[in-house]
């Protein structure tokens, strides 16, 4: 079943594909781990300005029991995903948002390799009975249409295969916008992080809406 989700709406259709029953989100200590790279870590902005922290604030206002953990690590590629998930086992997350692979794309890593690594991370989460959400990533158009489309396809393909919700593109509305990015043109600034957090908040609000 295809679950390619329109990127602008972050539709809640994904809810229907959640494979693993989640703990109740309202319950105290519901933890969302965002596993990613420098985009997640918030390279170049204060920790409190990175989107995981802002999302944490928004979700807490909505449901005080939710906690977002920033699992970003600058420079990391998808190859480190599995090992890092093992580390976060200590944090006992209830839901993992996998935002892995942007450095793979920027370094021209073979698409199959990235797919394999993200898939391994996804399977590990399922083994641990953690709810999983995939975040789609893209490479800039200068890498060529062929590579860019093959890379972008990794995420919807895996989401469909494992029936997990998909955030179609993590940097939706932010990538390529000079006002929302730092001088390097790659990392979001405070406003860019706020936009991502807002997008994700809408997504999670829908995703977790029917949970008591």
């Amino acid at each position: 079943m295809s679950i390619r989700i329109p990127s602008l709406t972050y539709t809640a259709l994904a809810l229907f594909f959640i494979a693993v029953p989640a703990r109740q989100a309202a319950q105290s200590g519901y933890k969302i781990l965002i596993l990613g790279d420098s985009l997640t870590e918030g390279l170049g902005v204060e920790k409190d300005d990175a989107f995981p922290a802002r999302l944490d604030g928004k979700l807490k206002q909505w449901r005080p029991g939710i906690q977002v953990i920033n699992g970003g690590s600058s420079g990391s590629t998808s190859a480190s995903g599995l090992r890092r998930l093992q580390w976060y086992q200590k944090a006992k997350p209830d839901l993992v948002l996998l935002a892995l692979g942007s450095n793979d794309g920027l370094r021209g890593v073979k698409v199959e390799e990235t797919r394999k690594n993200v898939e391994a991370a996804l399977r590990y989460c399922r083994e641990k009975h953690w709810q999983v959400v995939l975040a789609g990533l893209k490479v800039p158009p200068n890498y060529g249409a062929e590579y860019a489309s093959a890379f972008a396809k990794i995420y919807p393909d895996l989401a469909a295969k494992y029936k997990v919700p998909l955030v179609a593109f993590l940097l939706e509305g932010v990538a390529g916008e000079p006002d929302l990015n730092q001088a390097d043109g790659m990392h979001p600034n405070e406003r860019g992080h706020e936009r991502i957090a807002e997008n994700l908040f809408r997504f999670f609000k829908t995703l977790l809406a029917d949970q008591p």
């Binding site: 781990l33 870590e41 918030g42 390279l43 170049g44 902005v45 204060e46 920790k47 953990i69 920033n70 699992g71 970003g72 690590s73 600058s74 420079g75 990391s76 590629t77 998808s78 190859a79 480190s80 090992r83 890092r84 093992q86 580390w87 976060y88 200590k90 944090a91 450095n103 793979d104 920027l106 370094r107 021209g108 890593v109 073979k110 390799e113 690594n117 800039p140 158009p141 200068n142 890498y143 060529g144 249409a145 062929e146 590579y147 990538a175 390529g176 000079p178 730092q182 001088a183 390097d184 043109g185 790659m186 405070e190």
Partner: protein, 905 residues
């Protein structure tokens, strides 16, 4: 013959010593300054090559209309221009087109069965793709530097950039090998196919940015639209290169553009900004050479002044005779000023001739010995400065003597002058004037108040301290004279008679020892900073993002290729959360340098977004720097851990840990000292890091000095093993210098087996840096040794003059029946004591000076090198004993009749 020359006729020894010492010192000053200037010029040329122009403007988007206008306003119309777009992209092998009928493999050989014409898909591994760094170049590129091509001159391809046409691409050999392609084959970038025109073997420029991973390929800028790679969201850098017309100041144009281009994303660089990789090393070497040349000159000036003053003291009776015969004081002073001018001019001419000879000979010698080329020209301006400097300095140093001449009474003929002809206050005033003169000289040379004050202060202070110590030592011996033997008393009396000369000689000897010991200590420090330690092979390949589970496999693979993965270092990403229990935040002050190199506010409140953005000399640059600082400030830390210090590290405070962190105890942390200073962290501080969601504590127990030019993985923060073992980490590693073919094979095999591992070949970048640092090292070594030889020569001449001075005492003692052997022992003890006391004092003062210079000027820890201590102390002892032996045997061996021809001055 004028009287001043006739009076010199019988003082051959004195004036030869004066001229030779002064000429030697002056020549060292001229040649060291000249070579340093030549080297600076070479660095300047290299900087242009690195930047590829006089001026470069870059931005990661198209230039706006306002920016184009600013460029048109500030860049002279006659400037040469070129444009380049730079970006990363995937290059795909598509097949053979055979445009030239010549198809060559990466090694340059023509394949046996070369179809020569297009057979799509048959070339190499058609369909294979690889990340490349694309440079789309405009006509006229490169402005500085040049390409070299493997196939230039073969067939229709001339190798000139004018013949590089639309639809063609230039690639490096490793790319041909990796994709199994040949010259003449076809590749695609985006929607456009390109034919490989040639394999380049050298390319312009030499700078490196981390984003520039992948092989660099060149395409015509005009082909960019056809590739379709420029779209919204594309990361494409636009570079504009400019060669300014002669006489245009690139810094002024850069500053003007900085002001005009308000967007901080637009970066303007002049070639004077580039080469900063070598900045610290080069600045240290330049400062050292300046100190060296100034020391050599001051040394020779002190030596020459010693001889001239010695000569003037010896001339007191002559002065008295002249005064008795009716010569006016003005005329008498005029005679000796003329002598000084004559001798200093002679020394200057000789020194300049020597400098010229050395400026030609030294580079030849250095080339013959070390295969290093150093430019040999010496500008004429250097000679003019040398002549003026020599005469002025000599007059200034001789002034005390000249002023005293007018106060010598005719009665000196029958009663020797017991007190110095000039009072204490005028002498202090003259000493200060001499100091001011050298300070001005140092300022003109270094343009640094601190450096000038330290150089002159250290030397002047050393001279004063030596004089005071010599005087104190003599006073103690003089008070104890009744308990000493008569021979010692006679020696003391002899010193007392000529106490001015003795004191001067003591100070001169000590000063020679001071300078001679200071130079190797500073040289040692500099070489430690800039040279590659013996036995260390510089790495060439750098591997990143090695996952823990990949490490054994990667090591095995590299071993199977006959190489080894060196220094595999774990890297753990973390953020500093708390310092001593308080939330950590850091801000900067308005000049962008931070409050005392950085400040920590632990109140948990942000101190503003871009505090440096509103300040600064130029808004654009300040804002960009502020952004960069913000990025630096807020980024996390790359932590690592290991058992021992690397050979690029030196512990400067605290202690290194023993073994692994104990269970339950706070693990120990070692910080790089400058980084700790910037963050205002100190020994004993307890840090809390957020290691990807998990808090890890650590206490700073040591500070390290890190030699960043060691070309090996270095970290600001190191943890005691045990604390981070389980943390998510990746590894870095290096592979040493290997031949190009092997490097390509290793790169390809690693990329195939471990696609996530990024492998960078930094051969070109490191090679150029190492070559320049090597030159600097040898320059420092050679010129230090050269200056020390001059110091030893001066030392010997001073001792020789002292011996001559005491001949009368020696002969008098012999006439009184003192046996020669006992006399020899007596004078051996006398001179040995004299030389050793002066030498050891000079050495101790040099330790203090080295300590101050290291800490204040270079801001590096001062660690005395035991070998230098032994060599300096040993050399002081050996030279002192040799001089003493020479003095004792020469004095004791004189025939008694010599007493008749000697008179006390």
């Amino acid at each position: 013959m004028p009287l001043f020359l006739r009076l010199l006729k019988h003082k051959r020894g004195a004036w030869i010593s004066f001229v030779s010492i002064y000429a030697l010192g002056l020549s060292v000053f001229l040649v060291v300054n000249g070579l340093a200037r030549n080297f600076r010029e070479e660095i300047r040329v290299k900087s242009k090559e690195l930047l590829e122009a006089d001026l470069r403007v870059q931005v990661r988007r198209p230039f706006t209309g306002a920016e184009e206008e600013a460029l048109a306003k500030w860049i002279p119309a006659s400037a040469k221009k070129a444009e380049v777009w730079g970006f990363l992209s995937m290059l795909r092998a598509t097949g053979i087109t055979g445009i030239t009928g010549i198809r060559r493999t990466a090694s340059g050989a023509t394949p046996a069965k070369d179809p020569g014409v297009g057979v799509p898909g048959s070339g190499g591994s058609a369909g294979a793709s690889r990340l490349v760094q694309v440079k789309a170049i405009s006509p006229g590129y490169p402005l500085v530097g040049a390409f070299a091509f493997a196939g230039a001159g073969k067939g229709a391809w001339s190798g000139r950039m004018e013949d590089f046409r639309s639809g063609e691409i230039l690639v490096p050999r490793e790319l041909l090998a990796a994709l199994k392609l040949s010259v003449g084959d076809s590749v695609s970038l985006g929607a456009k196919n390109f034919v490989i025109r040639d394999e380049y073997t050298a390319k312009p420029g030499g700078s490196f940015d981390f984003w520039e991973m992948g092989s660099r390929v060149y395409i015509p800028l005009a082909d960019m639209p056809a590739t379709g790679l420029e779209q919204k969201g594309s990361r494409i850098f636009r570079y504009r290169f400019f060669m300014l017309p002669p006489g245009t100041d690139p810094d002024a144009v850069r500053d003007g553009l900085d002001d005009a281009l308000s967007d901080p994303e637009v970066d303007v660089s002049a070639y004077t900004d580039s080469g900063s990789d070598l900045g610290r090393s080069f600045n240290m070497v330049t400062a050292f050479l300046k100190m060296l040349s100034l020391s050599a000159f001051l040394l020779s000036a002190v030596g020459a002044a010693f001889f001239f003053r010695h000569h003037l003291v010896g001339e007191r009776k002559t002065v008295a005779v002249l005064a008795t015969l009716g010569a006016s004081r003005k005329r008498i002073v005029g005679i000796y000023v003329a002598q000084n001018l004559f001798l200093s001019s002679l020394a200057a001419l000789l020194g300049m001739a020597l400098a010229r000879v050395w400026s030609i000979g030294l580079p030849l010698l250095i080339h013959a010995l070390y295969r290093i080329d150093i430019p040999s020209s010496l500008p004429w301006a250097t000679f003019a400065v040398g002549l003026a400097l020599a005469i002025l300095t000599s007059l200034l140093f001789g002034f005390t003597g000249f002023a005293g001449l007018g106060r010598i009474p005719p009665a000196t003929l029958i009663k020797p002058l017991e007190s110095a002809p000039l009072g204490v206050l005028p002498r202090i005033a003259l000493f200060l004037a001499q100091g001011a003169f050298f300070f001005a000289l140092a300022m003109a040379d270094s343009r640094s108040w601190l450096l000038s004050a330290l150089s002159v202060g250290a030397m002047g202070g050393a001279f004063l301290l030596l004089g005071a110590l010599g005087w104190a030592a003599f006073r103690v011996l003089w008070l104890l004279r009744s308990r000493l033997g008569y021979a010692v008393r006679i020696v003391l009396g002899s010193i007392r008679w000529g106490r001015e000369k003795s004191l001067l000689a003591f100070a001169a000897l000590g000063f020679v020892a001071f300078t001679s010991c200071l130079v190797p200590q500073l040289e040692d420090l500099i070489l430690d900073e800039i040279s590659v330690p013996k036995g260390r092979v510089i790495p060439q390949l750098f591997l990143f993002d090695i996952q823990e589970e990949q490490l054994p496999g990667l090591q095995a693979l590299i071993k199977s290729l006959g190489r080894s993965l060196d220094l595999p270092s774990p890297m753990v990403r973390a953020r500093l959360e708390k310092v001593n229990g308080e939330p950590f935040k850091r801000d900067e002050d308005e000049d962008g340098k931070g409050k005392g190199n950085g400040s920590v506010t632990q109140d948990g409140k942000a101190a503003g977004r871009h505090p440096g953005a509103e300040a600064g000399r130029r808004r654009g640059r300040a804002t960009l720097e502020a952004r960069n600082r913000q990025q630096f400030r807020n980024r996390g830390f790359n932590l690592s851990y290991r058992d021992t210090l690397s050979d690029a590290e030196t512990l400067v405070a605290g202690k290194w840990w023993q073994g692994r962190a104990a269970e339950g105890a706070i693990p120990e942390v070692s910080m790089e000292k400058d980084y700790a200073k910037r963050l205002r962290l100190k020994l004993g501080d307890v840090l809390v890091f957020d290691v990807q969601g998990v808090e890890v504590e650590g206490r700073i127990t040591s500070l390290r000095q890190v030699r960043w030019a060691s070309f090996q993985p270095n970290f600001f923060v190191l943890f005691q093993p045990g604390a981070l073992d389980d943390a998510p980490k990746s590894f870095l590693g290096t592979i040493k210098q290997i031949p190009p073919d092997e490097a390509e094979a290793v790169q390809n095999r690693v990329s195939e087996a471990f696609p996530n591992v990024t492998i960078l070949n930094l051969k070109d970048v490191i090679g150029k840096t190492v070559e320049t640092l090597g030159k600097l090292s040898w320059l420092v070594r050679f010129l230090s040794g050269f200056a020390l030889l001059i110091g030893l020569a001066i030392l010997w001449l001073v001792v020789d003059a002292l011996v001559s001075e005491n001949q009368r005492t020696i002969l008098l003692l012999r006439a009184l029946g003192e046996p020669r052997a006992r006399l020899a022992r007596l004078f051996l003890a006398h001179y040995a004591g004299f030389c050793l006391l002066a030498g050891v004092t000079g050495y101790l003062l040099s330790l203090a000076a080295a300590w101050i210079i290291d800490l204040v000027v270079w801001q590096v820890p001062w660690i005395p090198n035991p070998l230098i201590f032994l060599v300096c102390a040993g050399a002081s002892l050996a030279v002192g004993l040799l001089c003493s032996l020479y003095a004792a045997f020469r004095g004791a061996g004189q025939p008694l009749r010599g007493l008749l021809s000697l008179t006390r001055p």
